[in-house]
Amino acid sequence: MVMDILLDVRELEPPEPLEKVLEALCVLENGQRIRMIHHREPHPLYPILQREGFRYETHFTDEGAFEILIWRSSPDN
């Protein structure tokens, strides 16, 4: 089992959260997930993920943050 990549971007201002997640997507392995913790829902990220063949789930956590889990939708992309 590959470890998740944890990206806590709550203390970063735009566009640094986007910069970080774009970098992480490039090195994301099959079966691995990015766990992004954000203080707001990153709406601009979603169309990029869909276009590039990633899947994601967003949850609102008890700490009052958004947790976005991202993984590859198929091994080929």
């Binding site: 709550r10 201002e13 735009p14 640094e16 986007l18 910069e19 774009l22 276009r51």
Partner: protein, 433 residues
């Protein structure tokens, strides 16, 4: 794995906002040069020809220039309504705004009717095109948050400001008799306290929590402040034209309400910034703090003017103008510029060349600007200008400091354009191989 890029279809090309951002400091430089040349003559009275020319170089040439450029870039993205024919639209607003601002400054300085006529035509074209675009775009956005509502109110205030300005300019050039005293006080009130401040407040609702990592503005403020300020501006206008004590009472009540509203915005924004989550130093935060402090001071002097009626000496009234225009408005707009310019540089490069590993990250772009030096120059230039209200002999020193400030800003925006062009050149070479 292919590199991942951005694709916000709504964003217009970088040349659209940057032509406005690159031109604006040149008008600041022109206003500073005028202060250097005219010296104490400019500081004699707030309605002197040179003071009016300098004020319009700042309001039209700098603050409206930046705000038009920023809105042409931000509104299509925030509202999800693409800007059709962005290049043509930018040209239709930018070129006549440049020509009209220069024409109006020359008109005040020379007193020649021809320049007033030219200014009327060019500024009418610039704001006509911009206003029509803004109105049609805002109509297409369903609902919209507090920021969009702020833009709607700012547009209404812009229409009143420009209409009053056109009437005043037409009267000066043709000798038409108009109620000059109320119109000449309502025009700057709608321009600074309406169009500019309502837009700043509307954008702040979105940009302060996002870029400064603060809590959101309280809902009771975002839902009530801007519509109330707009109503109070209308009340003040009505009060100025109603005869007798009723008009005076309405005008005073509206002025006090406006002061309270501006103070509320300044206090809440200050508190939000004090409790921001991110504790690393940030110069743009200091631009905001300085601007908000100056807004509070200018409200204090405005209150004094309202209580004392016509009894407040001219240097205080000049000081009120200095604290509000080159003070609050320039500080806050530059605070926004130093966030928006690096962001847009990165955004457009990342969109165009995502996978070549040549796009600098946004922190590196920020680091090249030395915004702290800009802030220091601004603070010293403002202090010199404020002292010049009482000691006009110092005004040429203030002019020199403002020239240095304007040049530094221009160099920094040019630096952003240089970074963009350099990365684009490298990318094209790599793509060619």
């Amino acid at each position: 794995m292919l590199p991942i890029g951005l694709s916000f279809q709504q964003a217009p090309p970088i040349s659209v906002p940057f032509r406005f951002f690159l031109t604006a400091p040149l008008f600041l430089l022109a206003a500073a040069t005028l202060l250097l040349v005219e010296g104490p003559d400019l500081m004699v009275h707030r309605h002197s020809a040179a003071a009016l020319a300098a004020a319009h170089l700042l309001t039209l040439g700098f603050s409206s220039m930046v705000m038009c450029g920023a809105l042409l870039q931000l509104l299509p993205v925030l509202g999800g309504v693409p800007l059709s024919h962005p290049g043509r639209m930018a040209w239709l607003v930018h070129a006549p705004l440049v020509a009209g601002t220069l024409g109006l400054a020359l008109a005040f300085l020379s007193g020649q009717a021809l320049f007033f006529h030219l200014a009327l035509i060019f500024l009418g074209t610039a704001f006509g095109c911009f206003g029509l675009w803004l109105a049609s775009t805002l109509r297409k956005i369903r609902g919209g948050g507090a920021s969009i509502q702020g833009m709607r109110a700012a547009l209404a205030a812009l229409i009143v400001t420009v209409s009053l300005g056109l009437v005043l300019a037409a009267a000066r050039s043709s000798g038409l008799t108009i109620p000059y005293v109320p119109l000449s006080s309502l025009h700057p009130l709608w321009g600074l306290g309406g169009w500019t401040t309502l837009l700043i407040a509307g954008l702040a609702y979105q940009l302060i929590p996002m870029f400064q990592l603060t809590a959101p503005y309280p809902a009771r403020m975002t839902s009530r402040l801007i519509p109330t300020l707009l109503l109070l501006l209308a009340g003040k206008t009505l009060g100025e034209f109603l005869p007798g004590s009723t008009g005076k009472a309405l005008s005073l009540a509206a002025s006090l309400g406006l002061d309270a509203g501006y103070l509320w915005f300044a206090t809440v924004t200050w508190q939000l910034l004090s409790r921001r989550r991110r504790k690393v130093p940030d110069t743009t935060l200091q631009f905001w703090r300085l601007g908000l402090g100056l807004l509070m001071l200018s409200v204090g002097i405005a209150l004094l003017a309202e209580v004392m009626g016509d009894g407040l000496p001219e240097p205080w009234l000049l000081m009120l103008g200095v604290l509000a225009l080159p003070g609050f408005i320039l500080c806050v707009i530059q605070g926004m510029l130093y966030k928006i310019v690096p962001f847009l540089t990165w955004f457009h490069l990342q969109s165009a060349y995502p996978g070549l590993g040549i796009v600098p990250n946004v922190r590196d772009i920020h680091a090249r600007f030395h915004a702290d030096r800009q802030l220091a120059l601004l603070a010293v230039a403002l202090a010199a200008l404020a002292v010049s209200c009482w000691l006009p002999a110092l005004s040429r020193v203030a002019g020199l400091l403002w020239m240095a400030h304007a040049l530094w800003l221009e160099i920094n925006v040019l630096q952003a354009a240089r970074i963009f062009l350099k990365v684009r050149r490298v990318a094209r070479i790599r793509e060619a191989h």
